[in-house]
Symmetry: C2
Subunit: 333 residues, 2 copies
Amino acid sequence: MGRRVTLIDVARHAGVSRTTASYVITGTGRVSTATRERVQASIETLGYVYNEGAAALRRTGRTIGVIVPNIDRPFFGEVLSGVEATFTDSGYMALMVSTRDRLDQQARLVRMLREHQVAALAIVPATGSNHDLVDAIRSWDVPTVFLSRYVAGSTEPYVGSDEVRGGYLAADHLVRAHQCRSITYLGGPKHGVARIDRLEGVLRALAESGSDVKLVDLTSESTVEAGIRAGRELAAGGLPDGIICHNDSIAIGVARALFDAGHAGSTRIIGYDDIGPARASVPALTSVATSGRILGETAARALLAVISGAEPAVRSHLAEPRLIVRESCGDHI
Amino acid sequence: MGRRVTLIDVARHAGVSRTTASYVITGTGRVSTATRERVQASIETLGYVYNEGAAALRRTGRTIGVIVPNIDRPFFGEVLSGVEATFTDSGYMALMVSTRDRLDQQARLVRMLREHQVAALAIVPATGSNHDLVDAIRSWDVPTVFLSRYVAGSTEPYVGSDEVRGGYLAADHLVRAHQCRSITYLGGPKHGVARIDRLEGVLRALAESGSDVKLVDLTSESTVEAGIRAGRELAAGGLPDGIICHNDSIAIGVARALFDAGHAGSTRIIGYDDIGPARASVPALTSVATSGRILGETAARALLAVISGAEPAVRSHLAEPRLIVRESCGDHI
DNA sequence: TTGTACGCGTTATCAT
DNA sequence: ATGATAACGCGTACAA
């Protein structure tokens, strides 16, 4: 195995200084077309590969940190695909890590990313994240954006969708279009900010409706299995007129459980996020679409703008969710 | 903003040399307990953070490259979660990138990862990958494992599931348990290796059955929408006795389309991968389970073993798929 | 335990 | 307008 080809080798081969070779590669400096071509030819023949690590020792690196609670949840998959595509298209690479929604893991991963000198950070904070996280990031002093979830009480840059509005849309549809008089909000971690905000939107819709609607709020994990379990319990204990699920996976599980219990179509179900299978399930799932991919792209672009110096600070962005009405909210009855 | 705290600062503050400070951090050298504690105290008070980038200039770095075709496809999400968890638990970080299943993107990303000096590479090659990819990786000379897909004709280390066996299981079930006499294999890119291998398994099962079974093979994208379109066409053109879908998303789409066409339950559908929603769809999806998460963990562990020097070379691994029988293959009729 | 060369590209400064 | 010199960034590892 031959030694690594370095910039010195290229320079020597092209009969030029290391500096000039560097200028050719980065496109930074003033170099005549003639020498530029000589250098590029040398790079080609020697098979030189740029060493990003060495370069990052001087200038700010081209690596970005991305933290999500669960890399394999469909919605975060969408978010990540947006983040990743935007970064790699701009020549940056994303160090993506998953906290499994645990604070200790998150603290550990933040530290690891810091040790890896990432140029920026996009983070979907784990449930229960508090000022410890915000302080750690602020003392670190790296461009950061909170994605899809924010930390309660903090005013850090945030890219997400309007959860209050999402809850409102779902509840409003249930009470106004379907005259629901009892609604259950199902799923999500007890103190998750998305959950709390959506419930606020739900309450607002109920208040506006003027009618007397009973609201029950239940937590669960955000999986299909948890949805099935919850659906069984609801079927056994008496169904509400409508169920707003914390995400589509839960909703699909609930629908299945009700089907098994012989209650198919006997209540209205609304999911959240509008992931792929939502439109194809039976019944097709009414869902609040949040377009995770665009969220990811937006966050990534915001960070890139700051890194490049185009913007002085990361800008927050609140996307408008849309209610996609399908069969599961009652239109199939 | 104060200057970065470096190892020199720590050393000075602890009244010791840079080398000793380094030894304390890495745990490598023999340092007396007394000085170790002094150094650790200094690290604490100064708020020193290790600089992985600088360190990687000398020793091999702790960054690993991971390439998948689509970061947001459920199956790859499972794979990635296994890869990521295993690496970060061992102190490594994964640079994860998505080729969108395009060869030009893949070539570009391989180069970028190379520039980032990753210590190892796990790659799910894009459809159509050939020896250009294998050569590029070999000349690079970094520990590599092909994950879930391999390159036709190459003998590189490979961690995946036995696709031939998977195809066999699905077809065998359709012909033996359900007496199917016409089967359609639906989905996947025309020349994808998984597709070809599974078809081989299907043919083997048909041959073993002794009976005369007609096999049709159709390609499609691997999305719910593509499944819906394909299902419509099948419904219009005459249904086979059984359909083996390239993945669960397609299967869910097909089932939905047949439902819409009034053909619910009139053929048998088998999916592939057994992702979350499979068990909850209506009808519940029979599927070939491949456990992407374990595949990811296995690949990551293989790479870690080689990096650490415990193993001389990456070892291949073929996992056994399992057929999970549910309603969609005819048990609900 | 420590001194010090090393790994590799960047960039401010100097020379033509 | 072009190109070169040399200091810099930060931890690692070997010789002393």
